[in-house]
Symmetry: C2
Subunit: 320 residues, 2 copies
């Protein structure tokens, strides 16, 4: 069996409370004793049991991270950043995937509630009302969703969408297709909101869609048929699927139709043509979410991170 605090205590003839204090409040124990304890602990390979500690302190030093789909390349960098940041704060991260299903999301939050100090909810599919209710059980930080009074990390999608639309307008595009994401997605709403205000542009909406390549593949025909010369897609995956579908109909990108995605994921960078996209600050968001959770005692600080348009090869001048 692993060494416990008792083993260490008896190994150096001292009470367990002294050992405990050596780790959690070193200034309360005599320097000589402290080093004796430390030596014994090191010798026995002792590490405090976090579960037992959590019992008395009420803090688990664990946090949950819930995403819609780990396999979506948008999330891994965010997860990685969050996990690294958490580790620096001596926290561990439980990662769970909801398969885009709100019910799974709810159940997951409920199970996490008692065993983590807080949950990072990334691009949730749950309704605001439900999230507010669940927040009574466990502190949240929400990523890519604005909920009153709840700490949030937002990516400035509106700004990105404006840049993208501006870029397309500058290339002479007038009729632009907007391929949205799944229901319940905040980013999707933000995009549509901006688009609705875009003066002088003729916008055609398609949605809701699966936020994956198959989602893009599925609307390719409709998009082609609507007469738009450019497309703003919910994310890079959708954009890539769209390009794929267009290619199957012998419609060239960007020669005949320009395509812009969102996220700036790896496959987009590797694609031919390289995807023009609105880069989302996933790494910064992961880090920030962790910090927000640890700082705020549930206070509603909101951080908005900038996005940036990255022009690559999938956009070009509008066809006459």
């Amino acid at each position: 069996m692993a060494a416990t605090i008792k083993d260490v205590a008896s190994a150096c003839g001292v009470h367990v409370s002294t050992v405990s204090r050596t780790f959690s409040a070193p200034h309360l124990v005599n320097a000589a004793t402290r080093s004796r304890v430390l030596a014994a602990a090191d010798n026995l390979g002792y590490r405090p049991n976090r579960a037992a500690r959590a019992l008395t302190t009420g803090r688990t030093f664990n946090m949950g991270l819930i995403v819609a789909d780990i396999a979506n390349p948008f999330f891994p960098p965010l997860i990685k950043a969050a996990q690294a940041q958490a580790r620096g704060r001596d926290y561990h991260v439980f990662v769970a995937d909801t398969d885009e299903d709100p019910r799974v999301e709810e159940e997951l939050i409920r199970t996490f509630a008692k065993q983590v100090d807080g949950v990072l909810l990334c691009s949730p599919r749950l309704s605001n009302r439900m999230i507010e209710r669940l927040a009574e059980d466990v502190p949240f930080v929400v990523v890519n969703r604005r909920i009153k009074g709840m700490p949030a990390v937002l990516m400035n999608v509106a700004q990105g969408a404006k840049l993208a639309l501006g870029h397309l307008a500058g290339l002479g595009h007038r009729r632009i297709a907007l391929v949205s994401g799944p229901i319940g997605s905040w980013t999707s709403n933000e995009m549509q909101g901006v688009a609705a205000e875009a003066a002088g542009l003729d916008l055609v909406f398609f949605g809701p869609n699966q936020p994956t390549e198959s989602g893009g593949l599925a609307v390719a025909a409709d998009v082609a048929a609507c007469g738009a010369t450019a497309v703003l897609a919910y994310n890079d995956l959708v954009a890539l699927g769209l390009i794929e579908g267009l290619a199957a109909m012998e419609i060239g990108v960007p020669d005949q139709i320009s395509v812009i995605g969102f996220d700036d994921i790896l496959p987009g960078r590797l694609n031919r043509p390289k995807l023009t996209t609105v880069a989302m600050p996933a790494v910064a968001a992961g880090r920030m979410a962790v910090d927000l959770l640890l700082q705020s005692g549930g206070e509603g600080a909101t951080v908005t991170l900038d996005t940036a348009l990255i022009v690559r090869e999938s956009t070009g001048r509008a066809q006459k």
Copy 2:
């Protein structure tokens, strides 16, 4: 505060032990009492505290999952599958990323040791010796590494490499470059092992390399210079980077050089040309690793999963 077992007990005038048994050994409590307890528990929103339970039972119902790099698209499907499988067994999964650094890997395992029932070590970079030593602290299942007496999930890389080499040979390639991965990678060794036996082929080795696109990009010039007409790359990311680098030198794939990767990740499927690759059974491996951990009490069962060659567009007949 959240409801505890005591609240439930007093809410329905029963001893805590009865409540406890209602959940952990229902057959020991009278049906009428049981439903009364269940009703009260449901009413108060009671959920047993796993940390407290772990204290007495010694089982945490948590497992650790350690990968070299979450951002490598090879891992997310594996993680997702493992997490889903674990959830079905009422387990939670801690995910951690080592940034390809063996020291981080070791430290991570040590911290995990006391708070999980076992660790899934995916494509470890640690030496066998070190892993064996750490296995004294916590049960392991190793993915993509063979260590005597330790449960493992292996992907049949050798078989895949043979198929790939056979495919290239069939297309008339004779001089083939082998771009390996990082030091400490079992798959990399397997590939080289097979290649060494390949009769009638003229093989050129390049390595070690970063297992990423930049790794591929970096060796592109060397590969081009060595006169090979085909390349077998450590993984798809490397293959993609290689194609990118080749393109920059105006060398066409597959017209001038054929490229095969390993893994079958999303970016490879979306790439132009679509990548010919050896598909790795990541999803099955994730599931299997969880089952192995839960079944074996550390027994050394080894499961080997088949790989498959997926011929797409990045391979073609050898140039004269």
